[in-house]
Symmetry: C2
Subunit: 457 residues, 2 copies
């Protein structure tokens, strides 16, 4: 019997997701319906498939939305996170399973009892980060516990970067995802984590100066800055007693120090509108954040204001972005500082057609077993093919697709609103991801921890 | 005929306000009714006056509130700013004038047409800052214009400080006003102003590093940091075309550099709660914002983190506050970083019984007259008597009291929700304030401006 999958929202990140379904359509007897506001944007490679039906769907068109959901066996929502709840409520009413790659919202959490009661699986955070991070972490944590080990430390970092062969600028960075999210990264609250049993708090304006360093075999050095709330998954992972819990974002070494210049100047602020932003030159934009002077140049003012030495490489990074160019202008009307900065960055950091992105994930597990402290380092590196088939789309889309099929095939059976931390979920999916070259390398290393035996603070 | 003044809210800042009314009670035929939630807190000096009646008033007791307002000729609201609107609506209904020292809220602005229609005067921002700043600025600006001058520049700074004879700590600062407002000062938005026709924006985390300096004859040097929005009164003052518009807060030189340490660490953040705040030592509190180390001391970590030289005086300022003390504890439950910092500061910065506060206001007016650029500097310094009769209470309360009487005596007649920028308001009140030694000293000085003729930016 044909199983019907409804995919709502077919944006750029769904290339691998749809390819997976279509590749399995015959063997798994799948019929794919794609509901999207802009069906004309869907590539013909997908459109022309027999197993695939495309329907224009405005998500606020309740009648059509419910109609499509009622005809499906399972729903995949790739909508913006805030809209999942519309689909989820229909799924409750129409008794359909649901898969998303987004964080669980408060509203979604509230309908978990209803989903459980009806035996429905609402699988969320089923992409890369959140998603693969949950699964790969829980697999190691469960293994440590099954051996009788006690978790002491968990650190986890993920970054969407550019592959070495496409790494052509001084920042070692290009936009491989929503640029707006990159510009606003770290805002909206103090970063909070635990190190050796001590709570630590980093305000946004210091975030990019409190990085940690990592070496990943074959890929060189990376740095990580703390995510807003490392403690979110403390209960979910069962890590209430660990001494160190730290989650962060990975960049190439040196990125954060240079990015901090934007933060210090106030260029990443999205909370107000710049007067007369339209047609402002890059130079005038930079000067908005510097003291007035009748004589000194914007360059000297910036160097002095942020104490940037003459031979500091960060200066070359600013020049590369044309931050002092008085000819180049920003065409945005009533724009915030962050929107204007994004425009400037997009001129240099956009992915070229043949550019390859790279996803790097890094976990550190510290634990005690048989009276001995031990450590496992684990990492995953995935490189994209080109601008369409990115590592980002692959690592986001494949877990979603695999979870959808696993639910259809009753490999995943626990009902309720959930994230992929159960063995019945992560085991088959991590195994299948390996076939697509999404795999972790694990290293048993000496426990480094934070030298807690000599703790003097 | 006896005129009845209803004063709602008789907190600490009303000492001079009430004294003024009582002093004038006989000659001006005044009857004062004080409505307050805690009448027992009102000093007997005031309670025992024949001209004074005290009534316990819960501002949300609509019947009593309306009853009291209906019996009065004019109402003075010294309530928290957000509650004025309750009183104002009654004043519209019952046809009473109203005086407050607070900023005009959106709700209050909306009822201005109703007030005008009924011929009612709702005078606001009638204290020190806002209040005396408006009046003293407009008096000079109007005079320059009457001579045919064109305004080029306006800068204005006010500070609530401690008088030199009571200045006994390294910060040259004590709390002479609501400490919470001092801890949160500068938050809630980017500071915005104009210098020589160029908009300038300073994010909060740089605010205390972008100070300007002033010398005030007989009182030494001060520094000023920018207020959140210097452009608020651009239209009200008729300064749409000035090249420089800058409003700020005054401190003694060196305060801001040291305060910036708290800002950088994240100690002034009021947006989240510290885990286990209760009984945390001052040292542990400081350590929350520093990187973890098994070996390094909190002192060294802080020095290194913020690059504080060994001989930098800011270090002594931190020591004076016992910021590294592991014995002293903070008794606050579920407190924010800002609340905990406030507690630490209050141990050292509270005003003693005999301590004298000091208000400093400084204006700079640049203008062009007869083809020549000129400048007027103007300043006011007021010193308090003791912890009750503060310069703050005096400069806040007297203008309110004087405006109330001036309205009763029909010296002020223009109806509507307004601030004291009209000559009919500022002229008599500034003149009367002089009798109470609240006066401005004016200096004609060479135009300093920002050297706009050689402008190269």
């Amino acid at each position: 019997m044909l199983r019907k999958i409804l995919v709502i929202g077919a944006g750029k990140s769904t290339s691998y997701l749809l390819d997976y379904f279509l590749e399995k359509a015959e063997s798994e007897q799948l019929q794919i319906t794609i509901g999207d506001l802009h069906p004309e944007m869907i590539p013909s490679r997908i459109k022309n498939q027999v197993a695939c039906e495309i329907i224009q769907l405005d998500i606020f068109d309740e009648a059509l939305r419910k109609n499509l959901i009622s005809q499906s066996n399972i729903v995949v929502s790739m909508l913006p996170a805030s809209l999942h709840i519309l689909v989820a409520r229909d799924c409750i009413a129409l008794k359909k399973h649901l898969v998303t790659a987004s964080y669980i919202s408060k509203e979604l959490k509230e309908i978990s009892p209803a989903a459980e009661q009806k035996g429905l699986i609402f699988m969320n955070e089923m992409g890369l980060d959140p998603g693969i991070d949950h699964m790969s972490a829980m697999q190691v944590i469960d293994r440590i516990r099954e051996k009788g080990g006690k978790m002491l430390l968990f650190e986890s970092f993920t970054g969407g970067l550019v592959a070495p062969e496409s790494d052509t600028n001084l920042w070692n960075y290009k936009f491989t995802w929503n640029p707006r999210n990159v510009v606003l990264a770290g805002q909206g609250g103090t970063a909070k984590f635990i190190q050796e049993g001590t709570y630590k708090y980093i305000p946004y304006h210091r975030l990019f100066r409190r990085t940690e360093y990592f070496e990943i075999e074959g890929y060189g050095r990376f740095e990580g800055y703390a995510n807003r709330d490392s403690l979110n998954y403390r209960e979910a992972y069962g890590l209430q007693d660990v001494l160190t819990l730290y989650r962060g974002t990975l960049r190439r070494v040196g990125f954060s120090k240079a990015w901090n210049i934007f933060v210090q100047l106030g260029m990443t602020d999205d909370s107000y509108v710049i007067e007369n932003s339209e047609k402002m030159s890059f130079r005038d934009y930079t000067n908005l954040f510097l003291p007035y002077s009748p004589t000194d140049s914007v360059e000297l003012k910036l160097r002095h204001y942020l104490k940037i030495d003459q031979d500091d490489i960060v200066w070359e990074k600013l020049l590369e972005l044309n931050l002092f160019d008085s000819k180049k202008t920003i065409p945005l009307v009533k724009a915030s500082p962050a929107q204007m900065l994004q425009y400037i960055l997009e001129q240099k950091w956009s992915l070229g057609d043949d550019d390859k992105d790279m996803i790097v994930m890094y976990h550190k597990f510290g634990y005690e077993l048989d009276g001995e402290k031990r450590q496992i380092d684990s990492n995953m590196v995935v490189t994209g093919k080109n601008r369409t088939h990115t590592a980002m789309a692959k690592t986001l889309g494949l877990p979603v697709a695999m979870a959808t099929l696993a639910i259809l095939n009753k490999k995943i059976t626990t009902p309720g609103v959930q994230i992929p931390i159960r063995k019945e979920v992560y085991k088959p999916i991590l195994a299948e991801l390996q076939k697509y070259h999404i795999r972790f390398r694990e290293y048993d290393v000496p426990y480094f921890g934070y030298n807690p035996d000599t703790q003097i603070i």
